[in-house]
């Protein structure tokens, strides 16, 4: 019996028991469907996060105060004061640093912000230089403020949309109004664009003011919480990291890299970390979905065992007509593989459909990974072989006359 003939035979058997065929593949459909959906969603989420981080500027390096080396115990749990605005200025002005195009510093802390009788406690960030451009924060209404605002101690503020809502109510235009931050009054000049859910490009619940004002007037601190450095282009990121790193080391009179009282991270590192986290989540969820696939496989095995028992007489007859063991094994194995492959294909379609609906609802980028389709059809085949093998072998071992006598 050739493979094609076996196939034809199996299809005709499965057609006879349509309802049973449908029900028995349901487990595989659900299993493969959920694996595909979760894999696609995981990939979409990861890509969306990577895209967002990338949109913050792939050339961005972030310098934060504090030691790079963190043992089991952090010796100093208070704020790190090692990074100053002067460091940012020095990086910008040093002739030795050739790979950096722009520098900005921020100081960020929580503070009470109020307008008339409304008040809210939010993150207030003092920023210098071209902070809004460097960090890719878009303005919805009004305008941002430039480098001169910090130099001139201008009491201006850019608010996040949530803060506007809290202080002024929905759809209000706060431009030109005065808000109180700490004990000073600030003029609202702009509102940032809502970054949507899960955004990284600035928070909706933020207030931006010039750095000098934040440091001296609101918080009374002389250090900064981060310095952002933009490399000239993507190819010199590593060079910029080294130049800035060693420059600061020298400025802070440290001899070894191990003694550094600051740390520098590149966007790439952040992407890697985030990817790792989302990757772990995707793997975990896919693993759970894979369990349902195993359950589906057991369902197939169960139905094949029933089929073998039901068709004991047929098996006996086939053997009495000269069917060898292999022919019987192949017949039943083909049936179970057809079941799982059909289930797999339907599962792929459903999985892709579900993930498309979800990604479009969440406005994530939809990517159909051909790899996952091949993988799941492959997995379906393997399940067919794995769980079909035992019933098929059981069938092939029947003695012809005993099988023929079976009632």
């Amino acid at each position: 019996m050739t493979f094609l003939e076996t196939l034809e035979e199996s299809v005709s058997v499965l057609k006879v028991n349509r309802m049973r065929t449908l029900l028995s593949i349901l487990g595989i459909v659900i299993g493969i469907g959920s694996v595909i959906a979760l894999m696609t969603l995981g990939e979409a989420t990861q890509r969306s996060i990577t895209d967002r981080i990338q949109s913050l500027g792939a050339n961005l390096l972030t310098i934060r105060p504090g030691s790079q080396q963190q043992g089991f115990l952090k010796m100093n749990s208070t704020e790190n004061t090692s990074l100053k605005f002067d460091d940012a200025l020095a990086i910008q002005e040093s002739p030795r640093i050739t790979t950096v195009s722009d520098v900005s510093a921020e100081y960020s802390s929580r503070s009470q912000v109020s307008f008339e009788r409304n008040n809210t406690n939010v993150q207030v960030t003092g920023v210098s230089g071209n902070y809004f451009e460097i960090r890719n924060i878009s303005i919805e209404i009004g305008s941002s403020f430039g480098p001169s605002a910090s130099d001139n101690y201008e009491k201006v503020a850019v608010l996040g949309p949530t803060v506007v809502e809290d202080l002024f109510g929905e759809n209000a235009n706060p431009i030109g109004q005065s808000v109180r931050i700490g004990s000073s009054t600030f003029k609202v000049v702009g509102v940032t664009k809502s970054s949507g859910t899960g955004g990284f490009s600035g928070s909706d619940e933020a207030v931006y003011v010039p750095l000098t004002v934040a440091q001296d007037i609101i918080f009374g601190k002389d250090y900064v919480s981060a310095v952002y450095v933009v490399a000239k282009d993507q190819t010199v990121i590593d060079a910029a990291l080294n130049q800035v790193g060693f420059f600061l080391l020298e400025r802070h009179s440290k001899e070894n890299v191990e003694d550094a009282d600051f740390s520098i991270t590149s966007q790439e590192q952040i992407i890697e970390t985030v990817s790792e986290v989302t990757g772990t989540f995707t793997t975990l969820l896919t693993g759970i979905a894979a369990i349902s696939l195993v359950v589906g496989g057991i369902g197939i095995m169960n139905i094949m065992l029933v089929t073998v028992t039901e068709r004991t007489r047929e098996i006996g007859l086939r053997k009495s007509l000269g069917a060898k063991r292999k022919a019987i094994v192949m017949q039943f194995l083909t049936e179970s593989i057809i079941l799982t492959i059909i289930g797999g294909l339907i599962g792929v379609l459903i999985g892709l459909g579900v993930s498309m609906i979800i990604t479009s609802k969440m406005s994530l980028p939809t990517t159909i990974s051909v790899g996952s389709i091949f993988l799941s059809v492959g997995v379906a085949t393997v399940i067919g072989i794995l769980f079909g093998w035992y019933p098929a072998r059981k069938a092939s071992k029947l003695q012809p006359i005993e099988a023929l006598r079976y009632e």
Binding site: L317, K319, G322, K326, I401
Partner: protein, 226 residues
């Protein structure tokens, strides 16, 4: 060509031991037409199953065309069943969801004969048995006699030298069973060895040799002269 030496078959079922055959010995030569008769439970069917390589004797020896059958592997037994023996059951044993043609083709599929060739051969045999207008009918659309002829056609397609029939007319009305008996006679005349289990006196009368089994033993082995 068939040599049976002191064959016994013992069944064990839930602790009760039944001896279906106890020391059966006989030979059958090429071209013989043998009827095996005896009361129910005398071991006729068990003997036939052993002859058809469907069952293995508990002890003794069954030699078919010079090979000792009980020593053969499962797959070799399948080959013997496929091309050396044509077995015809009382209850026809046709696959219900297949057409007559497909049922006849089945043994040739297991023999690995190509599609064109096996369809041609099946058509020839079915034509010979006057079934050419029934080839696409499913077994349940055929009369008992027609079903048995399909089963005989199936047994003939691999052109076996031995035909074994286990009460082939047992389920048939007289008219149809006459047809079947004539058919076996014709097949025997064309050179095949035919062994038939029967309750039918007419078949027994037409056979050249009648073996009578009682309680798993041969009590009479009678050759007629023609």
């Amino acid at each position: 060509m068939i040599r049976v030496k002191d064959v016994t078959k013992v069944y064990e079922n839930d602790g009760t031991v039944t001896e279906a055959l106890s020391g059966v010995t006989f030979n059958v030569d090429r071209g013989e037409f043998v009827a095996i008769v005896g009361p129910s439970g005398s071991g006729k069917s068990t003997l036939m199953h052993i002859l058809g390589a469907l069952d293995i004797p508990t002890s003794g020896e069954y030699i078919l065309n010079d090979s000792v059958v009980q020593n053969l592997s499962d797959d070799r037994l399948a080959e013997i069943r496929n091309n050396e023996i044509g077995f015809i059951f009382q209850s026809y044993n046709l696959l219900p969801r297949m057409s007559a043609l497909k049922n006849v083709i089945l043994p040739m599929m297991y023999a690995g004969i190509g599609k064109a060739e096996r369809t041609k051969r099946a058509m020839e045999v079915l034509k010979e048995l006057d079934l050419e207008d029934k080839i696409n009918n499913a077994p349940n659309q055929l009369s008992g006699g027609q079903r048995q002829r399909v089963a005989i056609a199936r047994a003939l397609t691999m052109n076996p030298s031995i035909l074994l029939a286990d009460e082939p007319t047992g389920n048939l009305p007289t008219l149809q069973s006459d047809e079947i008996i004539s058919l076996f006679e014709k097949l025997n005349k064309s050179g095949r060895t035919v062994l038939i289990i029967t309750h039918n006196d007419e078949i027994a009368a037409r056979a050249q040799r009648v073996i009578t089994l009682v309680d798993g033993k041969i009590v009479k082995d009678e050759r007629k002269r023609k």
